[in-house]
Symmetry: C2
Subunit: 455 residues, 2 copies
Amino acid sequence: MRSRASAIAFARTHRGRFIDELSAFIRYPSVGSDRRHAGDVAACARWLAAHLTGLGLPDVRILPTRGHPLVFASTAFERGRPVILVYGHYDVQPAGPLQDWHTPPFTPVRQGPWLFGRGASDDKGQLFAHVKGVEAWLRSGGTPVTVKFMLDGEEEIGSPSLPEGVARYRALLKADVALVSDSPMLGTGRPVITTSLRGSLGFDVDVRVAEADLHSGIFGGAIPDPIQALCRALASLQDERGRVVVSRFHTGVRRLPREEQRALAAVAPTNAAVINAARADSRCQDDGTSLFENTTVRPSLTVTGISGGHVGPGDRTVIAGAARARINVRLAPDQDPDLIATAVEHHLVAAMPRCVKASIHRGRSVKPYRIALTHPAVRAAIEACRLGFERAPALLPMGGSIAAVPVLQDLLGIPSVLIGFALPDDGKHAANERLHLPTLERAIETSIHFLAEVA
Amino acid sequence: MRSRASAIAFARTHRGRFIDELSAFIRYPSVGSDRRHAGDVAACARWLAAHLTGLGLPDVRILPTRGHPLVFASTAFERGRPVILVYGHYDVQPAGPLQDWHTPPFTPVRQGPWLFGRGASDDKGQLFAHVKGVEAWLRSGGTPVTVKFMLDGEEEIGSPSLPEGVARYRALLKADVALVSDSPMLGTGRPVITTSLRGSLGFDVDVRVAEADLHSGIFGGAIPDPIQALCRALASLQDERGRVVVSRFHTGVRRLPREEQRALAAVAPTNAAVINAARADSRCQDDGTSLFENTTVRPSLTVTGISGGHVGPGDRTVIAGAARARINVRLAPDQDPDLIATAVEHHLVAAMPRCVKASIHRGRSVKPYRIALTHPAVRAAIEACRLGFERAPALLPMGGSIAAVPVLQDLLGIPSVLIGFALPDDGKHAANERLHLPTLERAIETSIHFLAEVA
């Protein structure tokens, strides 16, 4: 009665409707980090729960947490069959400066093979592939395994309420393996199974010299300029080639065996490809190291924001009273978040001029992650990609962080299989984010195949 | 018929009305740097012209320029009497962040001896002292010299239209000496005649690496972060003690003879006083150099603004596509603006990492200035301060820049006598700017005395 062929056929028949439904999903500005959008996040969760109920899943719940809710759903439980927990997130990054968008971020627009909109790729489009995969199975006799969904409303802020939520609903969420699609492919038609994730640390650095702005003519030359002091401290974090020189910053980084390094080099993007995907200057690529390794299995430090004084229209020739910067650190697999956070804080405190008041606020941290390649679900994922994309997937480390993955490992004791459906130039976290619709079709079929292969 | 005593008596009798009139003047948000306030600047000029006409000045004109107009007025011309050109400005600095103000910036509020409001001190209150001084003379038989007013609407943006305006109206503006009050006193009851001004240079520095923001997980470690690149370049401008290390930055700085240095040290504010006026950390004062000299006869460099990426509520873990900073340089007397501007630009270009696109836009420059202390008008100003404030003025260099002063020197061939009526803690260019009303009364009397002494 259950037929993989009819599930695939169903998905192919209904692809147009699927895009309309995904568009309705993207229309919610579910920016989890912004209090002004709290109502939109809640409305998006309700839409998702209603949609899952409409597909016929017998158990759909909106699980409250201290923050934005988790949307939970499950197919009928059958003893003896594996339980797959699909994790994804329905919250999105802030849109950022509107003038950088060619189309309104929360009005999905289809142009050629692309669907534009904030969250189209990260992660609404990717999690939707599994929702539609389950729908296709349900319309073809039922899923071959029990599928549970746990859809997060706080991924983009580091899933602060997730550990407590997973602990609280541990029995409900019980599963054998998690399936997560929130990671990149190598390019169109080139699937990737992600084998490790970097961790993440955030810091806000506030610097103050005087209680108020001061006239730069009257005081310029007398007191330190807090912007300069901040720049000096930030610049001291790296050498002239951009390498982080914070003491103990590289503690715990696993040196790749030469064999693994060679295997990676054979399949990973070249420096030119990385620079091209970033649309950066080609001179950035001649680094002497592998940029792909730098972004996946080595730690990095980025100043993601800085602000102080006045750079807008009109002159205000003042010494700013205060300045602020935000730092994001990515941890290599096997690194310890607390140890690295302390190292960065110590460095910054020591780098401030003595009459500058600096305060450093540590944000949420996310552990790095690594999966054993011998896990049966990894093998099922490899086969599913081979069938869905007609190409063997590359097994690669990834530079991003997914807070839920180490949480599921720690609290449910289950590994996560990470099959990516995002293209490198999808514009995740940037303006003009988009989803490649032919890739969505492949992704839905890959989901259908995975549920059969893992059974 | 003309009586200094009755002019003084008139001023004392009408002090209450003068404050009401000044409040009406401050109420115009005449922010010359902001296009949205262009109408307010024009309305303020019309108010000022109407006010001067009301005082009985026979020739009042609003002189159009390429930018905001000059307000011109003149008392009756009498052959053989000196002509004094009062220069001041009716434009003001932007208010800056409103949350830093205790009262609305353009609603003058009187609290104790203070009148709060943007422009109360810089420069509406100070120029108003001369307007009221002239009124007092006119009500007491007429001014002892011919007084012309040239009131600028663009001082806070470096008076870009002034050179063209002064050249165009050269015949009308013809005078023997200029009188300018836009400089600080040493404290309440401690008048200052400013003997030199620093020049000013501005730069906008724009840095770009990629065409758009990039996910810091995916690209962190692969491409330079433009904020870090900008910070690195800015940090390289100074050493760890805040001394500017740009090659040729100190070219043209006149070394003070030991005697002059000793005279300055006797009267100039101590390091503790400078730091106290800035309300900065007392540890900033132990510099080993004279902070007063650093801020007046030596050049300085301030990063007056910086912006890039995101530091507001919510996380956007991106590598910013671009970042911008604004720099303000103050030139010591006798320094050449073009030479120093070129030196700073060369340094910044050389300090950028090679795959970072940087563009540097040079803003308007203002020449530094110095007056000969033997000029008769300086002696008249000394005597006027002695009478008006009952204390001999200090003769001191000043750290700020007044674009008009070198323009009047170059185009009209006249020096400017600078009598300051601003207190060090007036909050010029900052939030909660205020005018000390007892000082305004002294200033009006000093103006009355000056017109008699210079005759």
